[in-house]
């Protein structure tokens, strides 16, 4: 996260950890502590819990994709299996009244995920690339299929339910309330993120990057590319298992959907959306995705279409994801020139947003006309209720789309030019000033 700071810090023999390294973590902890005070409603906490679980899962996925260069299509398996194992533990604790507090449960999920990853990794990490991707897909399908065969473990189609409140009270807490679960998950999220970050700074974590970039050369430096991949794979399995344990605690049920390849696909999407090139990328991805999902799914029936479009746009135009877009601005920010960009950004992004909204309105109109019950012509969009069969909303939507995109394209050259100048040391703000 703070690569540059770190190096200069060690060269000048700075204290064990520098301010720049510790600050983001302290801020994150404080932020997570006060968040429920600002958003205390049950629905908000539900969303935040889901967000944090997704963060752990996405970070673990990025240990493979971003740091190790392994494209997995079956990562949900490790989270799912870890979660199922925790459900069983939950039921065992309930049946035998074992004196175990709930907060330690995720570690068992992690260990189970680790165990499975050790077995699968022993043969799947031999090669990266297509071979690895195909094996991950195969294993994913295989274990998902097991969920309907091995009913005793996976609970068949109903899934595996449990009850988190039978654990030994933890300092008087029985985790009956959402908010208590929130703090439990927050603790594990910070701890897991920190451990994953530290892992990336260890010799094997550094070599994971090297093997990702050039496995052959890594071998000529004494490291077996295969074993380096194996260690990353095991780490990813462990933290996915922890995410599974958190899921088990939060939802008190796991079903076959937790193991499905759809789930594996979603985590790939989230991680890519956030950006695989930076440690904090998947965190952004998980937050953005969960917000979009919970907001859009309430507003629109075709929200998955928008998500798909967003993913496509990310892959095509911003392969660095949200984190990449943010970090693109660092050089300009260092030179104190972010202000230069505000005007051109507004003149491009605002019309672009209007254009996108217009396009979305067209989609919604089309969907409403085709799929609503006959006679039901009223629809509400952007807080306005109108008749979807009349011509006016269509005209408005088309004008917004065409006009917005046209304006955005008008603003683009200026933005490109200002961007270039803001990133050229010594350049003036406007061409007039330079002349």
């Amino acid at each position: 996260m703070t690569d540059t700071y770190q190096k200069t810090a060690t060269v000048t023999k700075a204290p064990v950890f520098s301010m720049a390294q510790v600050a983001p973590w302290v801020i994150a902890v404080i932020f997570l502590m006060v968040l429920p005070i600002a958003f205390g409603s049950n629905s908000a906490i539900t969303i935040m819990n889901q967000m944090m679980i997704t963060i752990v899962f996405a970070l673990s996925y990025n240990m493979l994709l971003g740091q190790g260069g392994m494209l997995s299509f079956g990562h949900a398996v490790y989270m799912g299996v870890g979660g199922f194992f925790c459900m069983h533990l939950m039921n065992i604790v309930e049946a035998n009244e074992l004196p175990i507090p709930l907060p330690v449960l995720p570690i068992f999920g992690g260990l189970f995920g680790l165990g499975l990853a050790t077995i699968v990794g022993s043969f799947s990490t031999r090669k990266a690339g297509t071979v690895f991707a195909m094996i991950s897909l195969g294993i994913g399908e295989l274990i998902a299929a097991c969920s309907v065969i091995i009913v005793a473990f996976f609970g068949g189609e109903e899934g595996m339910p449990g009850d988190r409140t039978y654990f030994l009270p933890f300092f008087g807490t029985e985790f009956l309330r959402q908010i208590e679960v929130y703090y439990l998950i927050a603790f594990w999220t910070v701890l897991s993120a920190l451990l994953m970050y530290l892992f990336s700074r260890t010799p094997v974590g550094r070599m994971a990057n090297a093997v990702r970039d050039n496995p052959e050369r890594a071998e000529f430096l004494g490291y077996s590319a295969r074993w380096v991949r194996f260690f990353s794979f095991c780490g990813a399995g462990f933290f996915a298992g922890i995410a599974g344990g958190l899921f088990a605690i939060n939802y008190e049920i796991l079903t076959e959907t937790n193991l499905s390849t759809t789930q594996s696909g979603i985590i790939l999407l989230i991680t890519f959306l956030g950006g695989v090139g930076f440690f904090f990328g998947p965190i952004l991805g998980a937050i953005a995705f969960t917000l979009l999902q919970s907001v859009l799914s309430l507003q629109s029936e075709i929200w998955q279409l928008y998500l798909g479009a967003l993913f496509l746009a990310t892959v095509m135009f911003f392969p660095g994801g949200l984190a990449g877009v943010l970090m693109m601005h660092v050089p300009a920010a260092r030179m104190g020139r972010l202000g230069w960009l505000v005007g051109p950004y507004l003149r491009t992004i605002l019309p672009a947003l209007i254009g996108i909204a217009g396009l979305a309105a067209l989609m919604e109109l089309l969907f409403h006309v085709r799929h609503s019950a006959t006679g039901d012509t009223d629809m509400t969009l952007f807080w306005v209720t109108f008749d979807s069969h009349s011509i006016l909303p269509w005209i408005v939507a088309i004008v917004a789309t065409v006009g917005g995109i046209w304006l955005a394209r008008q603003g683009a050259p200026k933005l490109r030019e200002t961007w270039h100048r803001a990133n050229t040391p010594g350049a003036a703000k406007t061409t007039g000033g330079a002349a």
Partner: protein, 253 residues
């Protein structure tokens, strides 16, 4: 009698039907600087690839300090103290220059697959990497991604990565290719310095470099060594004159 650092016995390699290395016997003593020269396509790089485990040989033996290397992977051979560079630059282009060098120090400093040490907390690693960067004149480039370096800088990094681990047998495949005169002179001095008391095996087309550095020279033509010996002997050898050196020396002037 001391065991040679590297010993090749009847080494052969075929790609499909064409035999590229056609029975090479060579013994390179400890702390010897040995240059391998020969025309393009003679099989010099292939010979390097056979020695370092990049390709399996068709037949014959490679011994490093007397140990047979048959069936060993490159990383196992590297751990036995052999390090090599590549003719076509082979670096970690998305990582910073500093990271490139630091990664090449990890195994030799005994970190193995450790996931309980922080690399940034180790003074030996940081200072070791900075020292190598100093030697290859890339200190000012330390924080840049290796992929954005100029060609000559990437060649210097290639050498830096190879020598960083402190292997006692160092193999360089055309280390000065594409460098300017002054860069070449600098790199030659660096190679001389870091291979002090080590075994150096080098493929090189620049005869100035070869005759300046090498204690021994072997001439490889069409997969066979046609001559091996002290520089002056090789230079005077009529077979070598005819097959390669005459043309190569002429090209120098």
């Amino acid at each position: 009698m001391t065991v040679p650092a590297l010993q090749l016995e009847g080494l052969r390699k075929s790609f499909g039907k064409t035999e590229i290395i056609r029975g090479v016997d060579l013994s390179i003593g400890r702390s010897e600087r040995h240059a391998i020269i020969g025309p393009n396509g003679a099989g010099k790089s292939t010979l390097f690839n056979l020695i370092t485990g990049r390709f399996p040989q068709t037949s014959g033996k490679v011994r490093l300090h007397g140990h047979d290397l048959a069936g060993m992977a490159p990383f196992e051979i590297n751990r036995r103290g052999l390090s090599r560079s590549f003719q076509i630059t082979n670096i970690f282009s998305n990582m910073t220059v500093f990271e490139n060098v630091r990664c090449s120090l990890l195994w030799s400093q005994g970190y193995k697959y450790s996931f309980w040490n922080m690399v940034s907390r180790s003074r030996e690693l940081t200072e070791g990497a900075m020292e190598i960067l100093e030697q290859i004149n890339l200190t000012s480039r330390a924080q840049l991604p290796a992929g954005v370096l100029s060609y000559a800088e990437q060649r210097a990094l290639e050498i830096g990565i190879t020598i960083a681990g402190g292997a006692d047998v160092i193999m360089l495949d055309e280390p000065t290719a594409g460098m300017s005169h002054s860069e070449t002179d600098y790199i030659v001095e660096l190679i001389r310095k870091v291979t002090e008391n080590k075994t150096l095996i080098m493929v090189e087309h620049d005869m100035g470099v070869v005759f300046g550095l090498a204690d021994y020279i072997s001439v490889l033509v069409y997969g066979e060594i046609i001559a091996t010996g002290r520089p002056e002997e090789v230079r005077a050898n009529p077979k070598v004159q005819e097959a390669y050196l005459g043309a190569a020396l002429e090209a120098e002037h």
